[in-house]
């Protein structure tokens, strides 16, 4: 789960990480009030679009204001705009919230992040003097510029690790205390809040010699949701695909894609492979959908509904490896679901597992326009042909 910058900063502040003063605003009036309260005029404020995607600065979603009039003008311009960044995709994202915060005098922009390193299974700090830019680019072109510190879960961050990072980054003495607060605050927050990603890009050294987290991106580990009831309030449904929200309610794992062949599959790996083989035969998958191990009638019905809510879908491929579930049971579920929602697009079904022949004959005798396939390859060829791609 992702949260907004202003929410991330509130969390960081709670853990002692220095962040600029500021507040969220949902309207130009609220933005005006926050700007006044921060003392705009005597100092600069920054108006920042709050969307989950990054790259807002380059897209025109971050603006500096020296006067109240400027702050109001920027707020009017940004609130309600459709912001397009390299992370939003070409359709962009509508801005419904702003963060108004103190502007600061930037001496240098650093990168500071935390992720799980899958190779070592350790939470890992990543820091770089090359802040502000896309860190992936730095990682690809100049990997030596990314400093890493792996944290053992039993000991937590060692003082020596803070030291190493501090000197390797070449930070001035004046920033020592702030840096310690950044590292410890971030690690504690990461662990206690069950994060899966932290990114402070940039972490800035100010002209005054201190550090400030100017941006904040935090992702949470969805698996830990059961011990974080407070996440419900942090969630912004406007940032999520409505179909994906609907799918999650039924414990289906759905990801919308750009193609026109819907896929309904049991198991994540098989679902990915089904997309792959559609593509291999010249088709374009409209989605990833894992209906889970059981492939019950309910799950299949809901899956069909979600797939068909995408107007681009011209045909559906169902691929169920029954295994322990018997194919006749799954065939019955598919037939009932197809009848219930009055399927109008071509439907190719590939079943495998126990009682496969019975399942296939049920599909053929159903009176529905269901084409049954012999294997995955056959199924992909048949659906691509059926939609005339």
């Amino acid at each position: 789960m992702k949260i907004h910058e202003y929410q991330a900063k509130a969390l960081l502040k709670k853990y002692g990480v220095p962040v600029p003063n500021g507040q969220v605003a949902f309207s130009v009036e609220e933005a005006t009030a926050v700007a006044k309260q921060l003392g705009v005029g005597d100092k600069k404020v920054v108006v920042k679009a709050q969307i989950h995607a990054g790259g807002r600065g380059k897209g025109g979603g971050v603006k500096l204001a020296g006067t109240l009039d400027q702050a109001i003008a920027h707020s009017k311009a940004i609130l309600g705009m459709t912001l397009i960044t390299h992370q939003t995709g070409p359709q962009g994202q509508l801005v419904k919230r702003l963060l108004i915060e103190d502007g600061c005098n930037i001496q240098h922009e650093y990168y500071f992040g935390m992720v799980l390193d899958r190779e070592t299974s350790r939470v890992t700090i990543m820091a770089s003097t090359e802040g502000g830019m896309d860190i992936e680019e730095v990682a690809a072109k100049t990997p030596e510029k990314i400093l890493k510190a792996q944290i053992h879960p039993a000991t937590g961050v060692g003082d020596y690790q803070i030291n190493q990072l501090f000197f390797d980054l070449g930070l001035p003495k004046s920033a020592a205390k702030d840096f310690r607060n950044v590292v410890l605050g971030c690690y504690n927050a990461y662990v206690q809040e069950d994060a899966s990603l932290f990114e402070i890009n940039p972490l800035v050294l100010t002209k005054e010699g201190g550090l400030l987290a100017l941006d904040g991106k935090i992702n949470f580990d969805d698996n830990a949701g059961f011990r974080h009831p407070e996440w419900a309030e942090l969630r912004d449904m406007d940032e999520e695909e409505p179909t994906e929200i609907q799918a999650a309610k039924f414990e289906l794992s759905y990801v919308k894609l750009d193609g026109n062949i819907g896929c309904l599959v049991n198991g994540a790996g098989l679902a990915m492979s089904t997309m792959d083989i559609i593509k291999h035969h010249g088709g374009e998958p409209a989605n990833f959908l894992d209906v889970g191990g059981s492939a019950s009638q309910e799950a299949v019905t809901e899956g069909f509904k979600i797939i068909l809510s995408d107007p681009h879908v011209k045909g559906i491929l169902v691929n169920i490896f029954g295994g322990i579930m018997k194919c006749d049971v799954i065939a019955a579920a598919v037939i009932a679901a197809a009848k219930q929602i009055q399927m109008t697009v071509p439907l190719v079904v590939r079943l495998e597992g126990t009682n496969v022949d019975l399942g296939k004959s049920m599909l053929n005798d159903s009176g529905l326009a269901i084409v049954s396939a012999d294997d995955l390859n056959d199924a992909a060829q048949k659906i691509v042909k059926a939609i005339g791609a």
Binding site: E119, V191, R227, S253, G269, T274, K279, H280, F288, L376
Partner: protein
């Protein structure tokens, strides 16, 4: 004896009385797995299916029955603790079926297992099966397997079944099949399983099924190139997956440039490993190599 599990395996099931736990334990027993004990705190003293004794704790189960492997069906909230309990009770293998365990729970558990030398398979996996010795620890459909000499390793459940099914259809049996799990933190990696298969006199070749996210397949490519004499056929799922989106598995997400399916396939091919062009060709990619080496008549 193939690898990790076989006729000497004595299984304890943690969470044996839950709905998934009891269903799959019955399936394992029907296949022939030697299930010697179950554990559900509060239900000690009862019998499962009128023959398997249930204990309050794993420690008691191990003491009374000599269990040497555990299968865990405990819900995500309590799963990390269940794994630690198993490791603390003297079993040498822990197979964690549970999906949805918080990642940071596993970050804490992993070094404890490593220090004790306890092998974990999973979490979020279908388990492990040695068809020729009638030992299945997990949720895979036993009937698609056939005893034989090919190892299968995979991050995905149903895609493993797909590969096994293809092999069986081609008349090629399996020595041991392992689902290593779809989470970012897992106990047994591709390279661990590959090393075991390489050393196993009853395995002639290995199918390795990877996917987007992480660099386990890259490490495996290096290992295969440098250390393996047996043929390996690979498949990487997720060619059509977009970057930055989690594809069902917690670990299946493209987060850099090197963890895409295309990048991994390129690295595998550069190490002279045969990669199946589609998920329908995993079995064939193995068969071809067995024929070339005269390992199949």
């Amino acid at each position: 004896m193939s690898i990790l599990v076989g006729k000497d395996t004595r299984l304890v099931v943690q969470g044996i009385t839950g709905s998934a736990g009891s269903f799959h334990t019955r399936q394992c027993m029907a296949f022939g797995t030697n299930v010697v004990a179950g554990v559900t705190p509060g239900k000690g003293g009862q019998l499962f299916e009128e023959k398997v004794p249930i204990f309050h704790t794993v420690r008691d189960a191990v003491k009374e029955t000599g269990a040497n492997a555990s299968m865990i069906f405990v819900p995500p909230k309590f799963a990390a603790d269940a794994i630690l309990e198993a490791a603390d009770s003297g079993v040498s293998l822990v197979v964690v079926i549970t999906e949805g365990i918080p990642i940071l729970d596993m970050v804490k558990v992993k070094p404890v297992l490593d220090a004790k030398g306890v092998r974990m398979i999973g979490p979020n996996c279908p388990g492990i099966i040695t068809p020729g010795e009638k030992c299945k620890i997990g949720i895979m459909p036993a009937q698609i397997h056939k005893p034989g000499r090919i190892g299968v390793i995979s991050r995905s459940g149903t895609l493993t079944y797909e590969a096994v099914f293809q092999l069986t259809q081609l008349g090629i049996g399996q020595s041991t099949c392992i689902g290593i799990g779809g989470d970012p933190v897992i106990g047994t990696q591709f390279i661990d399983a590959l090393a075991l298969f390489e050393a196993d006199p009853n395995t002639d070749g290995v199918i390795m099924i990877g996917e987007i996210g992480g660099n386990a397949e890259v490490k495996a490519a290096q290992f295969i190139k440098e250390k393996m004499t047996k043929p390996v056929a690979a498949f990487i799922a997720g060619k059509a997956a977009p970057p930055g989106r989690r594809m069902g598995h917690a670990g299946a997400i493209i987060s850099g440039g090197n963890d895409t399916a295309d990048a991994k396939i390129k690295i595998l091919e550069a190490a002279n490993i045969r990669v199946a062009s589609t998920p329908s060709h995993m079995g064939v990619a193995m068969k071809e190599q067995l024929l070339e080496r005269g390992l199949l008549r």
